[in-house]
Symmetry: C2
């Protein structure tokens, strides 16, 4: 087992100073061709690589960014990570992934832990609990210390920073409108409680579409799911107790579950009920029938978020600050088998 070699050791072996070794390896013209070659050859032989931590301390930058997400099991968030990873790596950055598990406390702990020099900036999507509490002091604190933050998807207006979102309202409007144009009269909505920002926006879009088309809002057809534990029984009730010819669900889990339950009551999708989901993930693609859905393009969101963050980091000298942007990533209606 040969431990990692340091400048000091090389200097000792070659009987020169540490400065000389350092400069030689960075190919400084200050050093004679001869010495440089000797040092470089030796370093290569011993497979010298500079210690990242020492460089980080010296440079006051770590070339590492952190992405905080509520849940990695959610396919959408996994795709965002993938997008972030690729852009980050291209620019020589590493990515630390933190999971808040939808918990405010875990979100705070993660941020405080990493804000102390471990990373250069954050990319994050708020946990449900944080959105519910509306307590964002941990985020503003980090920003105040001069560390850039980019929020995506689940964002808040209470914090000023760069953001990457989709137009949830518009996407929901379009999806609902699509169903209305198909001639459906009883379009149900399966959404989440309003404090989840995207849930509320999507609900608003649905309502707006109905209103725009002079259709009346039937509260019985609007289901807001609070508790992921027993959401199936809620959907069951919705379908059992109402006349429904189309469903718009704000995520794919709700959509696929709705289809299952519809089948249970002898309703065929899409023949009897058309279904549109949200988030173009694995479930939508591979379930039978394949589910029509609002494609969210997590990869692109991740890429964009990473680009915005890295741009800010790499231009830190210049006084860019306060020039925050909100990027809206376009969505698309992916039509498959669950709609006629």
């Amino acid at each position: 087992m040969k431990r990692k070699v340091t400048l000091k050791q090389i200097a000792k072996e070659l009987d020169v100073s540490i400065s000389t070794v350092s400069k030689s390896l960075r190919n400084s013209l200050e050093i004679s061709e001869d010495t440089r070659q000797k040092v470089q050859a030796f370093a290569k032989l011993y497979n010298y690589k500079p210690n990242n931590i020492a460089l980080s301390l010296k440079n006051k930058k770590t070339k590492t960014i952190c992405i905080i997400i509520p849940e990695i099991i959610h396919h959408f968030f996994a795709t965002v990570i993938s997008g972030v990873e690729h852009v980050a790596n291209e620019h020589g950055y590493n990515v630390i992934v933190c999971l808040s598990d939808e918990s405010f406390d875990k979100e705070v702990i993660n941020m405080e832990m990493l804000a102390n020099g471990s990373i250069d900036g954050f990319i994050m999507s708020l946990s449900k609990e944080t959105q519910n509490k509306r307590d964002f002091h941990h985020i503003s604190e980090v920003i105040n210390q001069g560390m850039p933050v980019v929020m995506f998807d689940r964002v808040t207006n209470d914090i000023l920073c760069d953001k990457v979102i989709i137009d949830d309202n518009l996407a929901a409007f379009n999806a609902t409108n699509f169903l209305i144009e198909k001639g459906f009269k009883n379009i149900a909505l399966i959404s989440t409680i309003d404090y989840v920002s995207v849930g509320k926006l999507r609900t608003d879009g649905y309502i707006k579409a109905l209103k725009t088309n002079d259709m009346k809002i039937n509260d019985a057809l609007i289901l807001k799911i609070e508790d992921i534990e027993n959401f199936e029984s809620k959907i069951d009730e919705l379908i059992k107790n109402n006349t429904i010819d189309a469903i718009f669900a704000v995520n794919e889990l709700f959509a696929v579950t709705a289809i299952k339950i519809a089948n249970k009551y002898g309703k065929k999708v899409p023949e009897d009920i058309s279904v549109i989901g949200f988030t173009d993930g694995i479930i939508s693609k591979y379930s039978s029938p394949a589910i029509s859905t609002v494609g969210q393009n997590g990869i692109k969101m991740g890429e964009k978020a990473a680009k915005m963050l890295i741009e800010r980091l790499d231009n830190e000298e210049e006084e860019y600050e306060e020039h925050y942007k909100t990027e809206v990533i376009e969505t698309e209606l992916v039509l498959r088998e669950s709609t006629i």
Copy 2:
């Protein structure tokens, strides 16, 4: 914008030495009660937090571990990350996630980059390309430098280190055997090419089950998919050209695709064909019919891998080395709607 405060600044403000500040904050008895309180109060006021990078440099440990996976979109790997995260956080470790994208080069670059002091140890699953090339020098190099590595799922015998696996052979044997006991005679296998270690092991288990039951091996029913691009047409051919009453697929993507294609040819699952997949992920759970599958328990694998790594890190003083273990996580056959 108030920059982060350092010991030096506190020392200056309070007109004491840096050593005194440091000791006070660590509550050293060397320092008078009085001074300690003063320093601590001041530190609290200015929200002092020690700089992680400086600590890492000093302590020669970063309290960060890296997990390298081939693909995050694969639900199984996402669950492993989740397991690693939780155990790591419990023990005060952060997790860096790296994606190799199934590429040998990316795997090597990631490891070399992070091995230079950024992290304390690796948890990894080999990329397809690495398994194909059988080139593991980057891994042995890291291990030689004294950095612990834990491999999971896609492992190799060529490297000595801690490992977490499932008994792929046995799991495949059991799944196939289950189908045989149900009375099926023409059981197809949809696997991957042999250089993917788990693909080969699962194929072997399938063959062993047939042999044990004195059934003959029909090569036409064994499909080894090389190319993820056009795997659908391969499965299509398999189903179109053969008489099949059951299918064992080595992942859920293959399983769900097989069901779709079977439907296309008018075969119902499970009435006409029973299907068992591998990896108990989102797809298996939510497709219609829900797919019976070999549950792999990624969470548990991740937790175990993290525990093994952290144990090694925390006990580094003691000469534990060379005492490598391979943990086998049990699998279970999860029966759902795709088998009769």
